[in-house]
């Protein structure tokens, strides 16, 4: 290799200017990424965003077009997969159908010439709670059990980094939740660096310490889940990670730490510290607020709203009761479809479709984004993924357990 890797010993993975192009299509734009050792790192994005390609380049299953991959401070760009200290949990597990659970799990150890594998395989099967299944063939297992075999088969090799490629994609919702917690438990127990590729934002936020949101071959934003959620840096992240209400507004001035905005005649306040865009008086900015931060009152009670809160009038278009909260869609002059999630503590019987309402929220909960972006970025991607995500697959098999 021409470049000397400069990774700190604490970094499990370091990608430098890593890119991949197929003909004229760029799957991954030059990417610099550092994953600290022992962390649970998620690559989140819609299908086709380059997250799996990135993972496969780390595993050595795909040759990068440019750039380098360093694992634990050693450049491995030129090494074939079988010489890299990483293991992968494949999307559909890729268990060896001709080998039983025991031999699947022992595969990596045997390839490295380890003779007495019994103890280790037993321990690993206990860790993933498959102690009694050692002699079953993969096709005799349910989806969730196969998933655990795949994890055990990779983890037993004590890799420096465990790569998980949509490992829960084939499981139904309930099992997915369960496996998310289980994987998190296993990661905490073994302390190995996990890099998890997923299109499910909830999954990424539940499991990972750090999430990198990818879009069209680039990392849009990287950070702790709460940080990404509260301070999205782009409309894509704001829309892809949870739901955001984005209001296009004009800047009327700044005072103290606040930016004064006006949208459709409504005055709004945005903390300057939470605005990622350059603002000039008269310029435009997107003011964002998460649906659960907004409170909703009937217009008759407007006087009860405390001073200094951002307020927007509107009319309820739709409401759906989902148990813990009621989700409202509000038509307002500032935005035709504002979403509001109201926790079901005390329900106001007047808040039905058609009712005039006033939305209000603490100005500190507002974030600002550059108005030059596509306001709907990340919305379609989410919808496509929701349609693609398998539901019910493996349910029958699971029920039999």
């Amino acid at each position: 290799m021409t470049t000397e890797p400069t990774a700190a010993p604490g970094d499990a993975v370091r990608l430098s200017a890593l890119s991949k192009t197929y003909g004229s299509f760029t799957a991954v734009h030059p990417l610099d990424l550092t994953v600290p050792a022992g962390s649970f790192f998620a690559l989140l994005g819609a299908s086709g965003c380059g997250k799996t390609t990135t993972l496969r380049m780390i595993a050595g299953l795909e040759d990068p077009t440019t750039g380098s991959v360093a694992l634990g401070g050693k450049d491995v760009t030129a090494l074939p997969p079988y010489k890299r200290p990483v293991n992968t949990v494949f999307q559909n597990y890729a268990l060896f159908p001709h080998l039983d659970v025991y031999e699947n799990v022992a595969f990596g150890l045997r390839r490295r010439g380890i003779k007495s594998v019994k103890q280790q395989v037993g321990d690993m099967l206990d860790l993933v709670q498959l102690g009694g299944m050692a002699r079953r063939k993969p096709h005799q297992l349910s989806g969730g059990q196969q998933q655990r075999v795949a994890v055990a088969r990779a983890l037993i090799n004590k890799p420096e980094v465990l790569l998980l490629d949509e490992p829960l994609g084939a499981l139904d919702l309930k099992l997915r939740r369960q496996m998310q917690l289980e994987l998190k438990r296993i990661q905490t127990e073994v302390g190995i660096t996990f890099i998890h590729v997923t299109h499910d934002q909830e999954e990424a936020m539940t499991m990972a310490d750090t999430v990198a949101v990818m879009n069209a071959g680039r990392v849009e934003q990287l950070g702790a889940p709460a940080d990404l959620y509260e301070n999205p840096g782009s409309t894509f992240v704001a829309n892809f990670l949870g739901t955001s209400n984005l209001i296009e507004a004009e800047v009327t001035g700044t005072s103290g730490g606040d930016i004064q905005l006006v949208a459709a005649g409504q005055r709004l306040t945005l903390p300057a510290a939470r605005c990622g865009a350059e603002v000039t008086t008269g310029g435009r900015v997107l003011a964002g607020v998460r649906p659960e931060k907004i409170a909703l009152v009937h217009r008759d009670d407007e006087d009860a709203i405390a001073e200094g809160r951002n307020r927007v009038p509107g009319r309820i278009v739709d409401s759906s009761f989902i148990g813990v909260s009621t989700q409202y869609v509000i038509d307002s002059p500032v935005c035709p479809e504002l979403e509001v999630f109201v926790p079901n503590v005390e329900r106001d019987g007047r808040l039905v479709p058609g009712a005039p309402v006033v939305l209000h929220w603490n100005p500190a909960h507002t974030f600002g984004l550059d108005a030059a972006q596509d306001i709907d970025a990340g919305l379609d991607a989410d919808a496509v993924e929701a349609a693609l995500s398998p539901d019910g697959a493996g349910t029958a098999a699971e029920a039999a357990v």
Partner: protein, 312 residues
Amino acid sequence: MTAATAPPPTSPAPATVPAAPRRAAGRRRLTPYLLLLAGVAWLLVFFVAPMVYQASTSVQTGSLDEGFKVTWHVATYWDALREYWPHFLRSLLYSGIATAACLAIGYPLAYTIAFRAGRWRNVVLVLVIAPFFTSFLIRTLAWETILADQGPVVSFLNTVHVLDVTSWLHITQGDRVLATPLAVVCGLTYNFLPFMILPLYTSLERIDGRLHEASGDLYATPFTTFRKVTFPLSLPGVVAGTLLTFIPASGDYINAELLGSTNQKMIGNVIQSQFLRVLDYPTAAALSFILMAAILAIVTVYIRRAGTEELV
């Protein structure tokens, strides 16, 4: 679980089934047998009946002039075996070697088609089957030309002294390839190669490419991946291919007839001449049954050892 499911819209099935559905169920039960009818009739007429006829022929005595009678003369089997055991052995040996050669040639080819051929895959597959567009006889005759004494193949083999080695091994004679065991085995190998390649290809092609990646990811070198993953998973194809090659090859007589001499006669040649030239029908029938029994025994042992039932 706390999630409640809505009660089913219909009441539970009644204990007694009404008459009409029962008739329908009866029809449904019959359907598979009706579908089998044509095949069963075919087998009865063209397999079971000739078998019974041949079995009875094999225990008959007599001559063409006086006519044959069933006399339960089982000694025909014993005599046939005593007289023609070298032909049996030769048949099994030649077809065994041809099968091994087919596997050696066919496996790399099937592997390449399945994993490396890319968009050429279908073209190559058609090329594999293409020889079938000409008759078996013509193809074998072509080999007579290819291996002709003055032909380029023989003179080349002569020049590079390969024939010296093969003569020393007693599979060719002097400057000739024709009328030697090598020629017969070459013919068998060539003629039955597609029967090896196609099942191999089918079983290789079914292997999920991610298994190769998973194996590489788990520290297996490409060769180990082949040994531990690809080959075991292709075993059903290996078994099917070797059977489809070995069984017809051991009964074949065209290759020995056209490419061999009297010293390379296989059991197929003996059966053919007993039936059509010597007109000793009982011996011919007995030889056929012995061959069948031998193949059955070999195949049974082979499948047991290969243990294919354990594979998915």
